[in-house]
Symmetry: C2
Subunit: 214 residues, 2 copies
């Protein structure tokens, strides 16, 4: 398989973790977001959305949207599972993933920050601090609240095995720290993140360890 | 089942369509977003995220996150299916859903518009026109491009039976029209939307037909 990835992209980071947890080999193609390589005509043929990641299989089929691709990998390479078997537990894993993937991450995506700083003319420091920080604070409050309400966590988001929920949690916490957001008020999220960081698969997927890191 | 819903909420609209397509009965509890009822302590106990919808089953379990809840309904009430059986087709349905649910809808959510108009002090008309319109234009371009690239559509997003992809598409197009966005350049999206509107289940779920509509 071939992974079109950018080291700092959260969605690429998710897919790298999922591939590593499943022990699936792939070749990396680096797509530089700062150099706008995701808008190159050749890449848009692979992913018409012009976002990373895209995973291309041996038959040349390109898979986009990280959570959808992780579910596909889980259905076609079931071991180790990234979703449980019980329908309520599956809902929970997807709900945690979507709290992050729908309600936190998209608001702080680089294309959104660029739009606010560019066409909307908002001071860059203000965007990085007030906009980014607001959605992290609100989103992490909701995430911590949901995880606590459900009480299904153990060492990881669901019991003691990593799932898609942890795969989504890791890049989100990494990004919050990169933007110097105060996440001290979310002890459960921080504990789950720390447990994930001990996994070799998560370590191998870290942005700093990618060939395009700078 | 009990559905906590607001007539104009896209995510509530999705769940109403899914429930109607499956012929599942439910009792509606109206949660007024303008009156901030989603932040009431009683509602936060049901959904710590403080968003709509929430679906409470006969055992009192509350399900949140609309796409995760739709998958749960599909796994526990399989007929008619809202996801196909083939893994690649499942990926496609989830990818279409997530292009909408992750990359279009969250940016134009009412809480985001309110934050821009309030703390960020951006002129309300400018937010409604330039911000809302920008993400619709960009998102619909990507959605039309992906649907076209994949070529899996028939009468609906995947062949001739409605799936979760259509369930997500309908509220997004409804909202784009409500904000007077120009979607004339997306003929495939418009044709799929028109086909969905002919379904009695989609008609029953329409915002204007809900008990809390104003």
């Amino acid at each position: 398989m071939e992974l079109y990835t950018f080291f700092r992209s959260s969605a690429s980071y998710r897919l790298r973790i999922a591939l590593a947890l499943k022990g699936l080999e792939y070749r990396s193609h680096f797509v530089s977001l700062p150099k706008m390589e995701h808008r190159d005509a050749a890449y848009l043929k692979i992913n018409p959305q012009g976002l990373v990641p895209a995973l291309v299989d041996d038959q040349g089929r390109a898979f986009i949207q990280s959570m959808a691709t992780i579910e596909y990998l889980d259905e076609t390479h079931p071991e180790p599972p990234l979703l449980p078997k019980d329908p309520v537990a599956r809902w929970y894993v997807r709900a945690v993933s979507q709290i992050i993937g729908c309600d936190i991450h998209p608001l702080n995506n680089v294309r959104v920050l660029k739009f606010l700083k560019g066409p909307f003319g908002i001071d860059a420091a203000r965007v990085d601090r007030e906009w980014y920080g607001h959605w992290i604070a609100e989103g992490f409050r909701d995430l911590e609240g949901f995880l606590t309400q459900q009480g299904r966590h153990g060492r990881f988001c669901l019991g003691d095995q990593p799932t898609m929920a942890d795969v989504c949690l890791v890049p989100q916490v990494f990004n919050a720290e990169r933007f110097n957001c105060d996440i001290s008020g979310f002890p459960l999220v921080r504990r789950l993140y720390a447990a994930c960081l001990e996994l070799p698969a998560v370590q191998a997927a870290h942005p700093a360890r990618q060939g395009d890191a700078f």
